[in-house]
């Protein structure tokens, strides 16, 4: 299992993606088991909507002995948790908290950055960090980057246009989202491949399906990832630029007690990962959703509002969940939860409530499509939501303009990767017509 948080993004490949077992057990198979024992915290090919419906109706809060955590499927209970950071803490909310001693020994050679970033902090620390970072992601700031984002999309397409096919995530999503995020944070384009490899370490060390050797390699990658940012911070300290790293360094010079090098590294790591893996997957699913029924992107009427609502729909359907840790005994949904318990919110269940959404299938014409919990809720609501929405809309507009006949390859069969936070496929082949 992996780190989970509203905005923190977790994926599930190791440094060598081919070596990770891709099978996800499908939940909800044995109705004789207590409901909590029928949950799997990974998204597979089949989303267990029947199990979600049953849990929401009968036991919106249940306990899984096997997973060692509380499972929440009721939306009201989730909102209660998300507005109460005093009782439901984001500190130490990842699953599992204890690493294998050999993995921990490697992690101990690095910095404890996981425990101090925005995703894993409570007020007042969280408010301080959020206050520093909010300015980078306001609607106006994102709007000011629109032309640049469009240019990046065009440049990526320039490189593949003549081919007529590509692996969408690797060849469009990754370079598009990583260039956008690199511009904001301050890492250069030529480091994208290295960062892609290293970032899996951050999330993979806790993944249950990895072997010990894979986890150890991921831990080494995680430490190397920290060192990468430590070096970049030193460069920017000498030679500041107009980027987020330089602004965090300036803050650390003003306010060293609150912001030190480890804290800057923590923010860089988590923002880079959050700003990369999730939007890449969402872009692929948005293309797939818009072109469902065998259409090409060019055949679909795509005014901005459809792309915006369509992107919200994908976020609604893509996120699985995130967790909190109790700081005192609490009562939730009629159950007594002890202190220091992990409580996992299955957002996928709340986001598929027929009483709230009616038809729960992807609908880019849905009114008020933003009313889901996929971006989180409360003070940890995804800081990059405006950025992600803009990426979705701009990417589809430029792809539609540049690649006639673009659609997901007709023989595409999703190869699901195990993941506790969101749906993820290994690759999504797409095809288009080459006109010259």
């Amino acid at each position: 299992m992996s780190v989970t948080s509203a905005a923190s993004v977790t994926s599930a490949t190791s440094a060598n993606p081919e070596s990770v077992p891709a099978s996800c057990p499908v939940s909800g198979q044995d109705a004789a088991l207590p409901i909590g024992e029928r949950f799997e915290l990974t998204f597979g090919e089949v989303t267990p909507t029947d199990l979600y419906d049953e849990a929401r109706a009968n036991e919106p809060v249940c306990y899984s002995e096997r997973l060692g955590l509380w499972i929440v499927t009721g939306e009201a209970e989730m909102r209660t948790m998300l507005r109460d950071p005093k009782r439901y803490s984001s500190v130490k909310h990842w699953i599992p908290y204890q690493e294998h001693p050999e993995v921990q020994a490697i992690l101990d050679t690095g910095l404890p950055v996981k425990s101090m970033n925005m995703f894993t902090s409570d007020p007042p620390r969280h408010a301080y960090l959020r206050g520093l970072l909010n300015a980078e992601f306001t609607p106006q700031r994102i709007a000011s980057k629109e032309a640049r984002m469009r240019q990046i999309a065009h440049e990526v397409i320039d490189g593949v246009e003549h081919r007529g096919e590509m692996n969408f995530s690797d060849e469009f999503g990754d370079p598009f989202c990583m260039t956008v995020m690199g511009d904001i944070l301050g890492y250069p384009r030529e480091d994208q491949e290295l960062l892609k490899r290293l970032e899996f370490g951050y999330i993979n060390v806790a993944l249950a399906s990895c072997t010990l050797e894979q986890k150890k390699q991921a831990a080494r990658d995680h430490v190397a990832h920290q060192e990468y940012y430590a070096d970049l911070i030193e460069q920017r300290r000498r030679d500041p630029k107009d980027d987020l790293i330089s602004r965090l360094i300036a803050e650390s010079e003003r306010n060293g007690e609150q912001m030190n090098t480890a804290a800057i590294i923590g923010e860089c790591l988590s923002l880079q990962i959050a700003g990369h893996s999730t939007p890449v997957q969402c872009l692929g699913f948005l293309l797939q959703g818009l072109t469902r029924g065998g259409k090409t992107l060019g055949e679909v009427d795509c005014p901005p509002q459809v792309l915006i609502s369509g992107f919200e729909e994908i976020v609604r359907l893509t996120l699985l969940g995130y967790s909190r840790r109790t700081t005192e005994p609490v009562e939730l949904g009629g159950r007594q939860i002890p202190e220091d318990a992990l409580v996992y919110m299955v957002v996928a269940a709340a986001n598929r409530d027929k009483e709230v959404f009616g038809d729960i299938e992807f609908d880019p014409h849905r009114e008020k499509a933003h009313k889901h919990l996929g971006f989180g809720w409360g003070r940890h609501f995804c800081i990059g939501a405006h950025l992600a929405r803009a990426e979705g809309r701009i990417a589809m507009e430029v792809l539609r303009e540049r690649l006639p006949g673009l659609r997901v390859a007709p023989d595409f069969v999703p190869d699901w990767l195990p993941n506790t936070a969101f749906r993820k496929v290994r690759r999504m082949p797409v095809v288009w017509e080459v006109t010259r």
Binding site: G131, N134, A135, Q140, G378, R379
Partner: protein, 70 residues
């Protein structure tokens, strides 16, 4: 009756949900705090949108203040 939107900057965490719900009534300033774009809500429709933003704010940072007209 005048209805005026107010944002408590100490509570606001910059989720931007008010802006998504009612883009004509709320935006985020340079620091990422919500700011009302109008002093007064002058139609029933705007009041409706503003109420939705009030209900949707997870930090309970938005209120509608009413005052007798004039």
């Amino acid at each position: 009756m005048k209805v005026m939107p107010r944002v408590d900057r100490d509570r606001c965490m910059g989720t931007g949900l008010c802006h998504v719900t009612a883009p004509k009534l709320f935006d985020l300033d340079q620091e990422g705090h919500s700011v009302p774009l109008v002093d007064e809500l002058d139609s029933a429709e705007d009041v409706e949108f503003a109420r939705e933003a009030v209900d949707g704010c997870p930090l309970e940072a938005i209120t509608l203040v009413t005052e007798p007209a004039g």
